[in-house]
Symmetry: C2
Subunit: 229 residues, 2 copies
Amino acid sequence: MHTAPPQPIRRMSLHQELVDRLQLLIINGDLTPGAKVPEKDLCARFDVSRTPMREALKVLASDGLVRLEPNRGAWVTTVTVGEVDEVFPVLGALEALSGELACKSITADEIATVRHLHEQMMVSYETRNLDSYFTLNQQIHRAILLAARNDTLTTSCQALSLRMQRARYLANMTEGRWAQAVQEHEDILKYLSDRDGKNLAKTLLGHMEAKRASVVHWLETQNPLPDAS
Amino acid sequence: MHTAPPQPIRRMSLHQELVDRLQLLIINGDLTPGAKVPEKDLCARFDVSRTPMREALKVLASDGLVRLEPNRGAWVTTVTVGEVDEVFPVLGALEALSGELACKSITADEIATVRHLHEQMMVSYETRNLDSYFTLNQQIHRAILLAARNDTLTTSCQALSLRMQRARYLANMTEGRWAQAVQEHEDILKYLSDRDGKNLAKTLLGHMEAKRASVVHWLETQNPLPDAS
DNA sequence: AATCTTAATTTTGAATTCAAAATTATGTCA
DNA sequence: TGACATAATTTTGAATTCAAAATTAAGATT
């Protein structure tokens, strides 16, 4: 294990800051899925005592990012095929709703912003820059979510998205799937511009289902015997 | 060598037990919405120290049942019109999904169980027993949710339902709305029996929207000036 | 008496402490 | 050596402690 230099943090509440930081560590893969959460190391790393760290772990556990084993500590949960098959349909339903609501409330400026993000994403696609494509992709979905003007929806979606992002290879795609995703995004932009909620919802739902299939395929080729976490 | 079978019943950790207990206190109204959470009293009541109690409060805050104010403690959140307008559409989308999935997986036995619950609920309706009607209503929705075979969906739905249940008057209905709800439930049972996912989804969505309108109406007559929590 | 200061008390946030459980290390014996 | 038992160490869960912030009480001034 590595001894990183202590980087003290200061914000409204220690535990909330820790929740955010640990989420980042998990989705960045600094905390490996399936591995034990090194409570002591993390306390040293952030220069906090165990109390706020353990409070944060309880919250992360209720979000499904870690699993608490009584008297044995916390473990980073792994992304399983079963979980992907569960989460993406829910995410699909929620994103479909976000599309429908967004079409009712989105401003022209916001549509322009999405279009700009979309065009940047297309450049990333042309240059096959997967990282920036993935980031812009997330920004687009988030912009639509925000346009839906429903914080509850936003929170729910983001919690589920986070769980999926533990799989670093989530963004990996075949060339064919990538081309298909790009086409879906063309449709998304079109329907959003037209404020065609019904079709936007349908497209977002299909988009999620295709992504689910893609991720499941990836997981199954990576790990032929997926089991429960 | 064979290890002993995993013991299904394991003593819950203190904080998890407290999360469950506090949830009950909140939805039962023992902890009044808008009031300060009496941390010291609760610790005394459950004979635990502040550490697990505060861990539980952090989790409840992330679920939106309490609000933490830095250096000022925890407050039970109130159900506002704004929140109802946000949560019910999300709940509607999720219940619609549960209906669609349930139609694919539900067994004949499970349908029979739902039918039995439905008939009991009808008796409660005839006798105008609101409490038992409400309980059976919840059991029916839960049975459909379980038949969808998607734990993520179940967890998400239940978290949002909990937030709405803080309003004890949630179950209150006009005679007209009650009759309408009963009719909707007749349809729900019919479509579920027919395994007609599309129509079940549509009915559940409408059911939720009608419930949202009913609850909003109730809140607005109760409190003519609803404000943010 | 009403308002403003300031001191006492309570409450909160977080570190520390401590017992119990789990893990690792050590020693024994076939 | 290898399986088992037992002792030492570490880790965990939760109570306690302590400083800082907030709240309440008391006193001073007008």
